[in-house]
Symmetry: C2
Subunit: 340 residues, 2 copies
DNA sequence: TTGAAAGCGTTACCAG
DNA sequence: CTGGTAACGCTTTCAA
């Protein structure tokens, strides 16, 4: 079962390899006609032969010769993470539309791993990178940028990097919206739980929370509790117990995992929302509608985030300027923030 | 910023490209010593130079020349699907251990899309494929197999394909366990809801259900309702209403999405589990512990499924026989099946 | 233990 | 419009 090459097709069709290459690379224009300097008759014949022989382009050869690969790499922190699982599908779809194949590889919140993953994909000649950087990811990204490969930062910002594209959520607005909702409905003792991850999205959501507390003149009540992935389960239980005791009546959770864990703990402790604690969660999930009371939550525009990141990247691959795009979150109301 | 090639390293180190190639491909043996026919001193010097120059292997060239690519493709139906999101991470980890990079691309339950995705990855010279085939995926797979590329079927079986590896769940056991649990706890009027997808895992789970109903001599009560992704929301509501009216007291849901939707409908209708309907769901999720009553569910060994599929595939790449591995599910008990 | 040289299948350049 | 041919960077004989 030898592999069919461009040469086989050329011989069979009685033309040169150049012609075959032209035909195989031709994009169809709006009329469905091949747009290349080849006689339409010849082109049709070549296409037919290629089809008949089962010709399949060898990307390795094309990539070696042209320096391009029609491949982009997407590097989230954790491919099994709910947020990225949703977004990756949109990215894939959008990229395919433009003829790009997508590589996924997760950095698992480790800077070392991010470095080695980036090395691996660069060795594979990817044309561009979409990265959700982890803490301390700067150096890995700087190395990538040195090779002049276009990079788009998704979801998490890192300042001071030159000519990278960015597609971000307006995280300040998200924090503000969530907090304002609680305050508007009569909850004034609003606190927040966050991770000590040192990523922009979390600190911006916190800024939004603080801004809302300030604007409503309840900043003296503002308080943010920090936990880590490893210790969240036990930390959260203590935080909640203590908060309820202190008369805290509202809580903003800036990620899905925090929301899920808080709800779990509250159920375990027999606490009700909004009676014992009003809640605003983050990201979409079945849990918000299946919990005893439906839970209000911030929704990110996954589809746009995915599409825009591909769009910005492909623009950059084609030599255009790096853009920064900031998208607005929306609010999905549930019973967990009902008027006091 | 010209790219550093093997030749640059050779020149700088004062050796031939052959030597550099040897050194760069050498695996370290157990003593950490390079295992190749090169003078250790020379090797060290080459390594140092490569490091200093920032040499990075060009996979396209290597792949073109050697025919291998150190890349495997994973093609689930939907990369954002909960089950595959979890498993893909294990696959990636396991593959990286053996020096393989992973391509993900979803077929989105469409045979056409599966065909084009397989074409794309084959054009990228992948060394092997892990596929969760969709309905009517046979022809796409047959085409792949013609190229002699090793293929492992994950989660869903297709019969009659020659020399493909398989890593499957014992779906009959899963259906049986779930049903038996309900029967053992006093529910005898047990029904099931499934999709009309025509994939092996669902039909095997149904076989397990039927077997359990038969073994317990309540087969006259056995009944399976079918729905589709598109119509599930409304179908399920009608099915549930009707079932409760007819005195059905137990329900087995053979996928996560069916479980989530049934719980949503039950909440909407104000039905309690197990009082109105005892439930056994599928796959792990936060929803099972956050629902008013915790929900019993079948758990798949994601980690083993992922690891084994990589293991079987790499064995095949190395020329070994295609294996079939069937893994056992486990049961996680909740309040939704409490003794009647 | 080392090196020279022949491709792998494409694309890109240049000439007709 | 068409065709010849030189790269692309690497692995892999084969010979020294």
């Amino acid at each position: 079962m030898k592999r069919i090459t461009i040469r086989d097709v050329a011989r069979e069709a009685g033309v040169s390899v150049t012609l075959v290459s032209f035909v195989m690379n031709a994009k169809r224009d709006k009329d469905g006609r091949l747009d290349c300097p080849v006689n339409p008759e010849t082109a049709k014949r070549v296409l037919a032969v290629a089809q008949r022989l089962g010709y399949r382009r060898n990307f390795a050869a094309a990539s070696l010769r042209s320096g391009r690969s029609n491949t982009i790499a997407v590097i989230p922190n954790d491919i099994s993470n709910k947020f990225f699982a949703g977004i990756s599908r949109c990215i894939e779809e959008e990229a395919n539309k433009s003829g790009y194949t997508v590589f996924f590889a997760s950095s698992e919140e480790s800077a070392d791993r991010l470095t080695s993953v980036i090395d691996a994909v660069l060795a594979h000649n990817v044309d561009g990178l979409i990265v959700a950087p982890c803490t301390n990811g700067e150096s890995a990204l700087t190395r990538a940028l040195e090779t002049k490969v276009p990079v788009v930062l998704l979801d998490r910002d890192i300042e001071g990097l030159d000519s990278v594209g960015k597609v971000l959520l307006d995280d300040v607005a998200a924090g503000q919206m969530a907090t304002q909702l609680l305050i508007d409905n009569g909850y004034r003792n609003v606190e927040m739980i966050s991770y000590t991850l040192g990523i922009s999205s979390l600190s911006e959501r916190e800024n939004g929370y603080r801004k809302a507390m300030m604007d409503n003149e309840v900043y003296d009540k503002a308080r943010v509790h920090y936990t880590t992935y490893a210790t969240a389960a036990s930390d959260i239980e203590n935080i909640i117990k203590d908060a309820v005791e202190r008369g805290v009546d509202g809580l903003f959770l800036p990620t899905y995992s925090l929301s899920a864990q808080v709800l779990t703990v509250m159920k375990k402790l027999g606490l009700k929302t909004p009676g014992d604690l009003a809640i605003v969660g983050f990201d979409e999930s079945d849990i918000y509608s299946l919990y005893e009371t439906t839970v209000s939550h911030i929704v990110q525009p996954l589809k746009e985030l995915g599409e825009k990141s591909v769009e910005v990247l492909i623009d950059m691959i084609q030599g255009k300027e790096a853009q920064t795009i900031v998208l607005k979150p929306t609010l999905k109301l549930g019973g967990s923030t009902e008027k006091k």
